[in-house]
Amino acid sequence: MAEAQRACEPGKPASIDLQVLIDSHGDRLLRSAFLLCGDRTEAQDLVQETFLQALISVHRFRGESAVYTWLHGILLNLSHRHFRKQRHLLFEEERILKEPSIPTSPDQADQSFYANGLAVAVQKLSPEHREVIVLRYYGNLKIEEIAEQTGVSKGTVKSRLHYAVRCLEKLIPREMNLFVTGGTH
């Protein structure tokens, strides 16, 4: 955190410290931003604004969490603003849930094919559901940490996760032996 705090001290060469912050966390933040918003240019803008907000509000950071967690919290807040602009868009969760699972053709039944498809499918989720999926499976965050980052209860996080997973399950064929019947989901 010292590098970020030095970055906004008056009279100090802020550029060097900011560059350290960007080099350490920029790419990881950018990838998360891309998965959240689904647009590369938008993700770059979000990350740039994240660093800007971080420099402005660095005095509020008390070092209770890791620098990346703090930066990612700012990124999430900014992405919420981005999501609010998308309120007019219709997300496809309801349709996905109603449709039958994808049939498998032998040449498509390889994991990487569906892995790519899953990443695309994540973008069809509503912002709230996409957010928990990205934080859980890309950010490797625990339920408690997701609740803290998103500002909702653990119960809400689990409920959103459960719903989002149900949507994504529909996009993976049974032949991959992941979602055969009999589970508690």
């Binding site: 990838r31 990350v47 740039q48 499976y137 890309y138 408690e144 009999g182």
Partner: protein
């Protein structure tokens, strides 16, 4: 622990954030429940697939060059714009003090005017209701009532009357018809 409880704690079980006792109970439940063991394996498989999928989708992305420069420039322009507004307002006051004072006065009058107008509109509305007979009137009428107190004296029962002052609560309906009287007890 039953299947429903385990299902509810599945994510925390995988996170290892449950209390030691609950974690042990969940582990014990898994030993004899095929369905929950299956759900656990399924979640682990889904988790691995998602991790791989999302990492692949975002691989190769890196922060565009010049981000540091743009961030610093944005900070500079924001602070400049706030300062510029303050300077502009200060210069305006110095150059045109009369106009600035008039604008300030106008603003104050506008705020007061709006408030006053709002209040008078409320008063007019009340007055109008009264004129149309739409006013609800509630009055308290003191009524002298008597109550009987029975005491036993030897083999006889003595009845004494105690005067009591209570209030009757009466009201008028919107059409002007009197509502029935309802007594409201008061302390003696």
């Amino acid at each position: 622990m039953n299947c429903h409880a385990f299902s509810d704690l599945l994510y925390e079980y995988l996170d290892g954030t449950l209390d030691a006792e609950v974690q042990a109970a969940a582990r014990q439940h898994l030993q004899h429940c095929d369905a929950c063991r299956h759900a656990l394996l399924r979640e682990q498989a889904f988790s691995n697939l998602m991790r791989q999928s999302l990492s692949q989708a975002a691989a190769g992305l890196s922060v565009r060059p010049g981000t540091r420069h743009r961030v610093l420039k944005a900070i500079e322009s924001r602070s400049t714009s706030v300062w510029a507004r303050l300077v502009a307002w200060k210069s305006f006051i110095l150059i045109r003090p009369g106009l600035a004072a008039a604008l300030l006065l106008g603003g104050v009058l506008l705020i007061f005017g709006t408030t006053f107008r709002h209040r008078s509109a409320q008063a007019d509305s009340l007055q109008g209701n009264e004129q149309n007979g739409l006013c609800t009137c509630v009055i308290d009428v003191p009524i002298q009532t008597q109550s009987h107190v029975f005491r036993r004296q030897g083999n006889t029962v003595v009845d004494s009357i105690v005067a009591d002052l209570s209030f009757a609560h009466a009201g008028l309906s919107e059409e002007g018809n009197q509502l029935p009287l309802r007594s409201r007890p008061t302390s003696r």
